[in-house]
């Protein structure tokens, strides 16, 4: 005890010396929270101006609290041009009265122009994985035109556009969307040279953003090659086996029928192991319900249900084959995860083809993909028919 006393008092004295420190203390209201970043190509390309970065800061008082709605705008967009993002961030900091804080950064939107340029996309991404304050969970999106326009869309329900974008990216379960793509995931893809997709957004109107489709990137170069929209994106999800839930419209005897897919899975099999002529078999299993039907059929009859199922099967097969054609033959980029399948299940073969998978020799483009669809339409919905069934019987 006695020996501890001088030690203790010494400690306390030092603590009081430290009291004068507080080097890193910055009060929360003195920080500018950066929630969204949009990167565009600078309009006037100069020697030191490659990018134009738009940073969105939250204005907390504008958000209001649960009790009272905040007045005024809840965000503030600042722009600068420059060569490196970190540099631009520093010059943006000169415009703010607060200390910029990127720990709450939710979303980064990169314009299509940059993504299509060789090498720029990977350069931009580097800062987001290198900086220790950055999180690997930052969402990525591609802006169809000017990325900064997306950060200017003021939706009624969301006061901060980047939060709107975040929720749009996270909450969408639709067959043409994909799971939210994070910066960390992209690092993983780029490191293992796997091609990938990133959600593509566009400004739809003054107050809404449209989840337009999926931008396709070649893993080797980190360059955007094209985008999948509509049916192509649907087909992609069918094959990958994720985000299959959604609606499919087809025609049964000229009557339009809309299905909603409630459950589904897909399975990839390798049927031919010759690396120059790989053959994959994709089995897609779907469970669907009928949501809309313009004709009149008695669904209590087995043959009618079979008919409906068959239509769906064919429709899906058509969609899937369409996207295979686009992805494999036109773009020659494996975003259908066949490469990953090979890595996991046929590691030796994968080691042989890895270097020339979807570039160079491009074994992927040389392969064949067979699609096999199984569907199960579970219920016709609550009612059997709306109008009198006249033609279907017999």
């Amino acid at each position: 005890m006695k020996s501890k006393l001088p030690c203790l008092s010494f400690t306390f004295c030092l603590l009081f010396v430290f009291l004068t420190g507080c080097w890193d203390s910055v009060e929360v209201e003195e920080r500018a929270f950066n929630t969204g970043i949009a990167v565009d190509l600078a309009e006037e390309q100069g020697e030191n101006t490659t990018y134009e970065m738009t940073t969105q800061f939250v204005v907390p008082s504008g958000l209001g609290t649960a009790g009272e709605a905040g007045g005024g705008k809840a965000f503030r967009n600042l722009q600068q041009t420059g060569e490196s993002l970190y540099d631009i961030n520093a010059s943006i900091a000169r415009q703010t009265s607060e200390k910029s804080n990127i720990e709450h950064l939710d979303v980064v939107i990169i314009s299509k122009d940059i993504a299509e340029e060789t090498g720029l996309f990977t350069n931009i991404l580097d800062v987001f994985v290198r900086q220790q304050n950055m999180r690997r969970g930052i969402l990525l999106a591609i802006g169809d035109e000017k990325a900064k326009d997306i950060l200017n869309v003021e939706a009624e329900q969301e006061k901060v556009p980047s939060q709107y974008v975040t929720k749009l990216l996270e909450g969408n379960e639709n067959p043409i969307t994909t799971e939210p793509v994070r910066v960390g995931d992209i690092q993983e893809y780029l490191l293992s040279n796997r091609s990938f997709i990133i959600p593509k957004l566009s400004v739809f109107s003054k107050n809404s953003i449209n989840y337009e489709g999926l931008a396709v990137f070649r893993g080797k170069t980190g360059q955007m090659v094209d985008s999948l929209e509509g049916e192509d994106a649907k087909g992609l999800n069918m094959i990958i086996g994720k985000n299959q839930q959604g609606s499919i419209t087809a025609a049964v005897d000229d009557d339009q029928v809309t299905y909603s897919i409630s459950e589904g899975s897909s399975k990839i099999k390798l049927t031919n192991k010759d690396k120059n002529n790989l053959v994959f078999q994709v089995d897609i299993d779907l469970t669907a319900q009928i949501r809309e039907f313009n004709g009149s059929l008695d669904f209590y009859k087995r043959e009618n249900m079979d008919k409906v199922e068959k239509v769906l099967k064919e429709e899906i097969k058509k969609i899937a084959e369409g996207s295979v054609k686009k992805v494999k033959d036109d773009l020659q980029v494996d975003v259908l995860t066949f490469g990953n399948y090979l890595r996991i299940h046929h590691y030796a073969l994968w080691k042989e083809v890895e270097k020339d998978w979807d570039y160079g020799e491009n074994y992927f483009a040389k392969s064949d993909i067979n699609i096999n669809v199984n569907t199960n339409v579970q219920t016709p919905g609550n009612s059997i028919q709306l109008t009198e069934d006249d033609g279907g019987e017999g």
């Binding site: 020996s3 501890k4 030690c7 203790l8 010494f10 400690t11 030092l14 430290f18 420190g21 080097w23 890193d24 220790q132 999180r135 690997r136 969970g137 960390g184 690092q187 993983e188 490191l191 293992s192 990953n340 890595r343 996991i344 299940h345 590691y347």
Partner: protein, 369 residues
């Protein structure tokens, strides 16, 4: 018969069981998934961790067994009975230098990483100094107190680690774990090497076991303690691989920290688990540092029994502080980390082999039991 006296300088073998993982789990756990991912494919590192773990457990058991052969004797006394006094003093001094450099290294490492993730402008000296002061406070208390401190902190460290792992389940992808058994032999060897190197610090047993009341159980307890550390390493490694995949893990400096930063508990106040993580991490490094320092003090005290513990501490602390200021950048830190790993294994290993050999040659007569 029973007494209320909790003999202050005596501990139970259970305390050894707790001290071993407290010592082993330190700065290494933050970065070793990276090195393991480098040398193995997908999640194959689990085999190397277990293999390295088994080696480490055996090694721990042997070290403890040697120390137990001389119950209630300090390292210096039994070493000098085996290999003359001057050699024993040399060995002890080597352990002292190892302990001091490990203390200095850990202090520097905690400052570096705090600077990386928690602070920007706070001078590194301040971070180091505050930590060192707390360490000094702990060491200047009773030795039993240090073991009690381990007992207090280790469950928190384990619980929080498992908590973190539990909440990262949502981020795991089976694809990242596959394929299995694809790593070649060389990769396994390299990985085993790396993973056993991170189980450092077993040398403390040579000193602490002399305090144990029931030495017979001590080797088993020490081995058990080491296995628990192996399990924690394994769990952390598998989680990192499952969440990031091996390629990414390889490219992250501190995968465990990134893991904590990536995992978010949806909707809760503790949405960001990294705060919990930093708490456990500082504690884990603290226990290691305290024991490294305390062993040095204990060893020095055995050589100079006339100097009080407090004086030794006050003499060593500034020295440790300046020692920890030496490394310039993270590459030098990495070199020192490797060096300390080899030094620790080499020193303890050589000592144990030599002492065992001589002990056996002399027919184990020194064994007083």
């Amino acid at each position: 018969m029973k007494t209320v006296k909790y003999e202050d300088e005596k501990i139970k073998s259970r305390d050894i069981m707790i001290a071993v993982p407290s010592m082993v789990i330190s700065i290494g756990v933050l970065s070793y998934p990276k090195f393991l991912a480098e040398s193995t494919i997908a999640a194959d590192g689990w085999m190397t961790i277990i293999l390295g773990g088994i080696i480490a457990v055996l090694y721990t058991w042997i070290v403890a067994k040697l120390a137990v052969s001389f119950p209630s004797q300090s390292f210096l006394s039994y070493a000098s009975s085996l290999v003359s006094k001057p050699v024993a003093i040399c060995l002890t001094l080597l352990f002292v230098s190892y302990g001091i450099s490990l203390t200095a290294f850990e202090i520097r490492a905690i400052a570096d990483i705090s600077h990386q993730y928690l602070f920007e402008r706070t001078p590194i000296e301040v971070i180091m100094l505050t930590f060192l002061l707390v360490v000094v406070y702990a060491v200047s208390g009773s030795r039993a107190g240090i073991f009690r401190l381990n007992t207090m902190f280790l469950p928190i460290i384990f619980a929080a680690t498992l908590f973190l792992v539990f909440f990262s389940i949502g981020y795991m992808e089976v694809d990242n774990m596959l394929p299995m058994f694809k790593t070649d032999l060389q990769g396994h060897l390299q990985g085993t090497m790396d993973s056993s190197l991170s189980y450092t610090g077993v040398g403390i047993l040579l000193f602490y076991i002399s305090l144990v009341k029931d030495p017979k159980k001590a080797p088993g307890s020490a081995a058990l303690g080491m296995s628990s550390a192996v399990i924690i390493y394994l769990v952390v490694y598998l989680t990192c691989i499952a969440v990031f995949g091996d390629v990414t893990t390889e490219n992250i400096r501190f995968p465990f920290i990134e893991l904590a930063k990536s995992v978010e508990i949806p909707g809760g106040f503790f949405e960001r688990t990294e705060s919990i993580f930093f708490v456990i991490w500082i504690m884990a490094i603290f226990t290691t540092t305290v024991m490294a320092f305390d062993v040095s003090v204990m060893a020095l005290n055995s050589i100079f029994p006339n100097i009080t513990k407090t004086k030794i501490i006050f003499f060593l602390s500034p020295f440790i502080f300046f020692l920890s200021m030496i490394p310039k950048d993270f590459l030098e830190m990495k070199t020192i980390a490797n060096f300390l790993g080899y030094f620790g294994w080499g020193l303890t290993g050589t000592t144990v082999i030599i002492l065992w050999a001589i002990y056996k040659l002399k027919g184990g007569k020194q064994n007083e039991k």
